[in-house]
């Protein structure tokens, strides 16, 4: 007989869907089917069951081949590497739980490391903007129940957060949005005609990289002031039409993504988006929310913030926390060649950092803690496979709207495999001894 487990949390994106169902074998060792999850979430659950999975830590030999080693030997190697390094970088954290992140922060403190999460390549600039001017935000529940104006700016949830629209932002029938999609006006701003924009009432096909100008023009249009004939490739009449749509709602939400955070004006784009939200609150109620990518990147920012005071780009090399993006941020540290040991967990900088930064990883001693084979494990000296968080172990995670949700364990990991947290505790205890820390 098989067992069906309901209300499972999906550990893929920041939407953190909590209605997934999985079917497991009677002994709880095999995951057989997944229901309700999107195609990416389903793949994540099912891939944990693949026969070709690496289950033992592997150390790269002088000839480039891998040698299987024990978790004890892997923890020894990691602790020694961190103890001996002058400026180790501990990066990732977004695909693991808050408990593991917290142990990681203890390690970082003892090792006097730089620590950073994947906000470095997604919403880091958002965090800078929030520190500049604040963030009038809400929960996804409020969006579902109240939002009748939804703006997706520089994001494509149809591809990146596949169930966001059906669970929260467009289709659901909420308390004040009883007609579902019919209750809402959808505006999409994107230089491409994305699958999200195809559903929109209005698509503004902006010139790439001109987000600041268009956000600013919308603020001007709200006030009814003069506009040039066209801004960022959008005619002035269209901008005024959208400004009227935004103003006329009862509750609006601006979701924004990599289109604004990674384009040239970066944090200034978001400054302006937040300022637009503030201006719209002169007329009606508006909120703004970043579309966070990894399922627990938000949690990593929270854990960093409550333990070190800063949400990413933390430098502990002087024995206290400093925060200076551009100086203490991973990509800059790696590109400048300042890092002498690289510790990666719950992310894949090898695939998602510019190649000049990845070369910085390949040059130094490095450990990659990841259940998958990745470009990062491909350039690291030690690869430590671990249990899939959210599938083979539970733990606390934060949804993109800062709501904490406990992930659940649904299936046993392969025999002998450790979780992130268990391995980190082994490293922490060894490092304490090596450093003579209390």
């Amino acid at each position: 007989m098989t067992k069906t487990i309901t209300d499972v949390i999906c550990p893929f994106c920041g939407t953190l869907c909590d209605d997934v169902e999985v079917v497991v074998s009677d002994d709880g060792k095999k995951l057989l089917e997944v229901a309700n999850a999107c195609v990416i979430g389903t793949e994540k659950f099912l891939h944990s069951q693949s026969a070709d999975r690496v289950t033992k830590p592997r150390l790269r030999q002088a000839d480039g081949s891998w040698k299987d080693i024990s978790y004890d030997e892997a923890a020894d190697y990691t602790a020694k590497m961190l103890a001996g390094a002058k400026k180790p970088l501990m990066y990732g954290w977004s695909s693991t739980n808050c408990e593991a992140q917290s142990v990681g922060n203890e390690i970082a403190e003892i090792a006097k490391a730089c620590c950073d999460n994947t906000a470095a390549v997604c919403h880091g600039t958002t965090l800078i903007a929030v520190q500049d001017i604040g963030l009038p935000t809400c929960t996804l529940g409020e969006v579902k129940n109240r939002a009748d104006r939804v703006i997706f700016w520089g994001c494509n949830p149809a591809h990146a957060h596949p169930r966001h629209m059906s669970r929260y932002s467009i289709f659901p029938r909420g308390f004040f949005t009883g007609k579902g999609q019919m209750s809402r006006k959808l505006v999409v701003v994107d230089p491409r005609c994305t699958d999200t924009s195809k559903m929109a009432d209005v698509h503004l096909q902006i010139e790439q990289g001109r987000d600041y100008e268009l956000l600013n023009a919308l603020r001007v249009a709200l006030k009814g002031e003069w506009l040039p004939d066209s801004v960022a490739g959008i005619p002035a009449e269209k901008i005024r039409e959208v400004a009227d749509i935004l103003k006329s709602g009862r509750f609006g939400i601006i979701f924004f993504g990599m289109g604004v955070t990674q384009s040239l004006s970066k944090n200034h784009n978001i400054d302006e988006a937040i300022a637009l939200t503030k201006d719209l609150n002169e007329y009606t109620k508006y909120s703004i929310m970043p579309m966070r990518g990894h399922y627990n990147v938000t949690g990593s920012g929270e854990v960093f913030a409550w333990q070190f005071g800063f949400p990413y780009s933390v430098d502990l090399t002087r024995g206290f926390a400093r925060y200076n993006p551009g100086d203490s941020s991973s990509i800059d540290l790696l590109t400048r060649g300042e890092v002498d040991a690289m510790f990666t967990i719950g992310s894949d900088p090898g695939a998602h950092f510019p190649i000049s930064a990845v070369k910085g990883i390949a040059k130094v001693d490095s450990v990659c803690i990841d259940p998958h084979l990745t470009p990062t494990s491909g350039v690291s000296k030690l690869h430590v496979p671990v249990a899939f968080n959210g599938v083979e172990c539970g733990g606390n995670c934060y949804r993109m709207d800062n709501v904490p949700i406990d992930c659940r364990k649904v299936v046993e990991p392969p025999e002998g495999m450790l979780t992130d947290e268990q391995f980190l505790v082994m490293v922490r205890d060894r490092l304490r001894k090596l450093k003579g820390a209390a």
């Binding site: 999107c38 390549v121 880091g124 990289g209 993006p325 100086d327 510019p354 070369k359 390949a362 084979l373």
Partner: protein, 135 residues
């Protein structure tokens, strides 16, 4: 003389990219999902390339061989799209301008036909560029 065209490169997530990273970045399916450049019909015509031709994309920061496909979320003439991954990251602008964030969107690139050059697998591409010895 082979034709070369200039376009503005952006990168980002696709659902195929999401599925491929979760099903294994060592597999050819990752290359199929991300070792591509989505180009507008007009740009493919200007390049003189058939759909599904291998092309070499070059920026100030490097070059990479990917397969040119017709835009799936177009039209977007003048803008080309490589899904996020090692292929895009071989050529994006790594400058963070003191924000910590590389400029993943808006890198000027040139595209030329490279019909005889192979598109490497994801891990292989990174290892090759980093000079990692593989046993």
């Amino acid at each position: 003389m082979a034709k070369t065209i200039s376009v503005n490169l952006i990168s980002g997530r696709t659902i195929q990219q999401g599925v491929a990273i979760e099903s294994g970045k060592e597999k050819p399916s990752y290359r199929t999902a991300c070792g591509i450049i989505e180009m507008d019909k007009a740009d493919l015509k200007a390049l003189g390339a058939w759909k599904n031709t291998n092309v070499k994309v070059t920026s100030d920061y490097g070059s990479v061989v990917v397969k040119a496909v017709e835009a799936t979320q177009g039209p977007h003439p003048g803008v080309a799209f490589i899904p996020m991954g090692p292929w895009a990251n071989s050529i994006v602008n790594p400058n963070t301008y003191s924000t910590g964030m590389p400029t993943f969107k808006g890198t000027p690139v040139t595209v030329e036909v490279a019909i005889d050059e192979p598109v490497l697998l994801g891990i292989e591409l990174v290892q090759k560029q980093c000079g990692v010895m593989v046993g």
